[in-house]
């Protein structure tokens, strides 16, 4: 789901980058207000977790690969604004050092995986886990479902961003300038991969991660309760 450079028009990339600026600003303001310095290592470990989980590629039946992102796990444990920054840092290093995801496309990738995914997941979690006892079966299941839906929302967005390119941008000879596949191909291909496999893996990691955290560090859940 790391959109490389060249697949989206520069105008698409810069638009999403411009949308991300106030989101990063707001995330920083919330973090400044709600976190104290002793909690910074957890944010940093969340960012590393996201990076490492994204390296675990999973085979998809249609011959492509997918991976989990960890954004919803971070959002539930530390709050969605912390997840915005943690996943953004992971995506930035991936783009700059490893060429995974474009440098110009960084803003788009951050929008999909570091903003939409944690927030969608966080609110779905709150909806399902409402009043469930912390660490209970319903609480853990809610985390799993939230992870599944959060990743699929990010994938859906990415597929739409890919799919609108050939509609909007073609060369003089009519060939597509950027991503050559339209919505009719991009959306089913991406969604098949994420609805069937990658989303399930994301849900699994989110659920066991939240189960582990609620048993081992209840103080983290407390942060989330305060923030939310």
């Amino acid at each position: 789901m790391h959109i490389p450079d060249g697949y989206l028009s520069p105008s698409t990339c810069f638009s999403f980058g411009a949308v991300m600026l106030p989101i990063w600003y707001k995330a920083s303001a919330v973090i400044k207000k709600n976190l104290d310095i002793s909690q910074v290592p957890y944010m940093a470990m969340g960012a590393v977790f996201s990076f490492l989980i994204m390296m675990l590629n999973i085979p998809i039946p249609n011959g492509t690969t997918g991976h989990a992102v960890g954004g919803v796990l971070i959002a539930i444990a530390l709050g969605p604004w912390v997840a915005v920054i943690a996943v953004s840092v992971a995506l930035l290093i991936q783009a700059l050092v490893f060429g995974d995801g474009g440098v110009v496309a960084f803003g788009v990738n951050a929008f999909n995986m570091a903003f939409i995914m944690p927030f969608v997941g966080f609110y779905i979690f709150r909806l399902i886990a409402r009043k469930a006892e912390i660490g209970s079966t319903r609480y853990v299941a809610a985390a799993g479902i939230a992870g599944y839906i959060g990743l699929n929302m990010a994938a859906l967005l990415a597929s739409i961003e890919f799919g609108i390119q050939p509609l909007l941008f073609t060369a003089a000879d009519g060939t597509p300038l950027y991503c050559p596949y339209g919505l009719n191909i991009a959306v089913p291909a991406m969604m098949l991969a994420h609805l069937t496999i990658a989303g399930v893996v994301e849900g699994f990691f989110t659920a066991i991660g939240i189960r582990y955290i609620t048993r081992n560090s209840p103080e983290l859940v407390f942060i989330q309760g305060k923030e939310g």
């Binding site: 790391h2 959109i3 490389p4 450079d5 060249g6 697949y7 028009s9 973090i31 400044k32 976190l35 104290d36 310095i37 002793s38 910074v40 290592p41 957890y42 944010m43 940093a44 470990m45 960012a47 590393v48 977790f49 990076f51 490492l52 390296m55 675990l56 590629n57 999973i58 085979p59 249609n62 011959g63 492509t64 690969t65 991976h67 920054i85 943690a86 840092v89 992971a90 930035l92 290093i93 700059l96 050092v97 490893f98 060429g99 995974d100 440098v103 110009v104 060369a171 060939t175 597509p176 300038l177 950027y178 991503c179 050559p180 596949y181 991009a186 991406m190 991969a193 081992n216 560090s217």
Partner: protein, 112 residues
């Protein structure tokens, strides 16, 4: 407590080459050669973008190592460790700069 999480992350880094077992490329992340195979041409924009940025460790490979499977795995683990260190450092630096003070703990205790 934090040590437990560090150990889990370390294990994830060590097992990261499992991610290499998955054959193929993620949808929409093909290089220009794959693109040429799929379509018979490379869209102009994709071609031009190849020059925009040269990553030091492209696709989690360490260029000095060989291309055999074992070196590919070692390179992947090295990439996992290098990336994790950079990310941990950057997130920590960000947190320290943004939050600055440590006095909030007392404030929180008094408002409980």
């Amino acid at each position: 407590m934090q040590r437990k999480y560090i150990i889990i992350l370390f294990i994830l880094a060590i097992i990261s080459p499992l991610g290499l077992l998955a054959q193929g490329t993620a949808w929409g992340e093909w290089g220009p050669e794959d693109m040429n195979e799929l379509l018979g041409y490379v869209p102009q924009g994709i071609n031009q973008a190849q020059e925009w940025w040269k990553a030091i460790f492209p696709d989690y490979t360490i260029p000095y190592l060989g291309e055999e499977k074992i070196f590919e795995s070692i390179g992947y683990i090295c990439s996992a460790i290098i990336g994790s260190t950079l990310i941990y450092g950057m997130a920590t630096a960000y947190g320290r700069i943004i939050i600055k003070k440590n006095a909030k703990i007392d404030q929180k205790l008094t408002t409980l």
